[in-house]
Amino acid sequence: MIKDITLGQYFPGDSFLHRLDPRMKIVLSMLFIVMIFLASSLVSLLAVTVLTFLLPFVGKIPMKTVFGAIKPLRWVVLIMMVLFLFTGGGEGYHILWEFHWQFINLVISVEGILKAIAVSVRIVILVVSVSVILSYTTSPIALADGIESLLSPLKRLRVPVHDFAMMITIAMRFIPILIEETDKIMSAQTARGADFHSGSLVKRAKALIPVFIPLFVSSVRHADNLATAMECRLYRGGNNRTRMRSLCYATRDLLALFAMGLLLVGIILLTAEVTYGYLGFRYV
């Protein structure tokens, strides 16, 4: 049941993306997000979409998994669609249908439809690209290391970066454990006649009490055990701590950054004033 959530799950492998330095991947995914929002002409958005769906091939992630990550987005996309579809009024727009009554102004226009599609596409490719570049191909531990390393300049300002990263690492480490435990507790209570799927909302919320209390107790137990174990190994924060695997950039990281830079320039050119006149609508 709960285990089917694939968003934010590491997919072990040995692809080009897997081997990139986590710091570089964080930077790359930020640049990719920038690129998605810069792509404001129809053609450039199309190009970014194609690029996004090439990423799973680079990372050797099955398409099925990628679609699994998109599926939970369908409601967000639907709401966005409806929102933009009916508010498509604007100067010089090609209006297809109008409805005005008191405060309600519904306008469907060609530009509105394009905007609705563009927003939906952006949401989808945003999730896919970040999932593939970061979640699927980076282990949670590597990710936390990357975050810590990128934020380490803040240490000068006395921001407890190490503790922050440690907290993230621990939280991520325990997510699968807690999901598994939730699953087990739900099964056990189902065996005692619990029913999580029918009845009124109040009834269903109440049915979750026998799940949440044991889960809470067990979280506290895990935390306690972990704290004891860390204490026993004399853990005391980041000062003078060395790492087993220190991060280190390689040629492929530079290569990836270079490629990303080229793509970014390409997309900017595709979107720029000189080209959109020939290549498509500006309004997306």
Partner: protein, 295 residues
């Protein structure tokens, strides 16, 4: 004698050609059970034994419909349990399942209310529930004075017994327990098993015990099912299964220590019977031989 075809009516609960795989469609795909068939008889104690990861927990979760096999069928009283989805909740009261480490599922403010959770879900009257709670507590040997305490204040062994009572209170016709004694000291183990025997003796229910301890199985199980790496390798009465010592050892499962000792004595020329698996039985047999002057 493995995977024989079943006369379904002979068993209150039986499984036919069960196959189960986890994580289909992910890189973590893992076969947990492959073509497993066995049956459970009324009034008997059936042991399911196998190493960690051999599929025991997966198997028992299929017996009350929590997991649905990818292929194969489970029959309760001759009826396919997945034939009508609406009957599954009612089935779970008849086939009671106690998970491994059930004490981690306690949640109520008092022991009494926690045990009452199952029977209350069945829709019984308050008096009936109260009666069942006391009865279940008695089966597992929980002192009445504990009933109004918080379950979180009890010892590990007591918590375990509260959790088991929570399922016994539904008065299942088949009571299945996944490693009910794991992590307990010898006295705690004995308490648990004796409670289960009491339940079987006074209700005539079938009891299924999952374990990886040969000693416990030799002591309490009457029928035994042996799993090894997602397959069923042996099933039958205790004597039948233990007579295949070679096969057990080939799957590094071993026979009980005392059975090995008896075998050695037999090889040394002592006329001991073949079906000795517990210390008590063996001691008695040797004593009888000594008294009879055979040695």
């Amino acid at each position: 004698m493995t995977n024989k075809t079943f006369e379904k009516t002979e068993y209150i609960l039986c499984a036919e050609h069960l196959v189960y795989e986890y994580g289909i469609g992910t890189p973590f795909r893992k076969k947990a059970l492959d073509d497993v068939s066995f049956g459970v008889k009324k009034g008997r104690i059936t042991g399911i034994i196998g190493h960690t990861g051999s599929g025991k927990s997966t198997l028992v979760q299929m017996m009350n419909g929590l997991l649905k096999p990818q292929s194969g069928k489970v029959y309760f009283q001759g009826e396919d349990i997945h034939k009508d989805k609406a009957t599954l909740p009612a089935l779970r009261y008849k086939v009671g399942l106690v998970f491994q480490y059930p004490e981690y599922q306690l949640f109520e403010e008092s022991v009494r209310r926690d045990i009452a959770y199952g029977p209350s879900n069945m829709g019984l009257s308050e008096e009936a529930v109260a009666r069942r709670v006391e009865e279940a507590a008695e089966f597992v040997g929980l002192d009445k004075s504990l009933l109004d305490k918080s379950p979180f204040d009890l010892s590990g062994g007591q918590k375990r017994r509260v959790a088991i009572a929570g399922v016994i209170a539904m008065r299942p016709e088949v009571l299945i327990l996944d490693e009910p004694a794991s992590g307990l000291d010898p006295i705690g183990r004995k308490n648990i098993f004796e409670g289960l025997l009491r339940y079987r003796d006074s209700t005539g229910a079938a009891v299924v015990i999952v374990s990886h301890s040969m000693e416990d199985m030799a002591m309490y199980a009457e029928d035994i099912v042996v799993l090894s790496h997602d397959r069923l390798i042996l099933s039958g009465t205790r004597d039948e299964v233990f007579s295949h010592a070679d096969e057990l050892i080939a799957h590094s499962l071993d026979v009980p220590d005392i059975a090995r000792l008896a075998a050695r004595l037999r090889r040394a020329g002592l006329p001991l019977a073949a079906n000795l698996y517990t210390v008590e039985e063996t001691a008695k047999a040797i004593a009888a031989l000594l008294k009879g002057g055979t040695v």
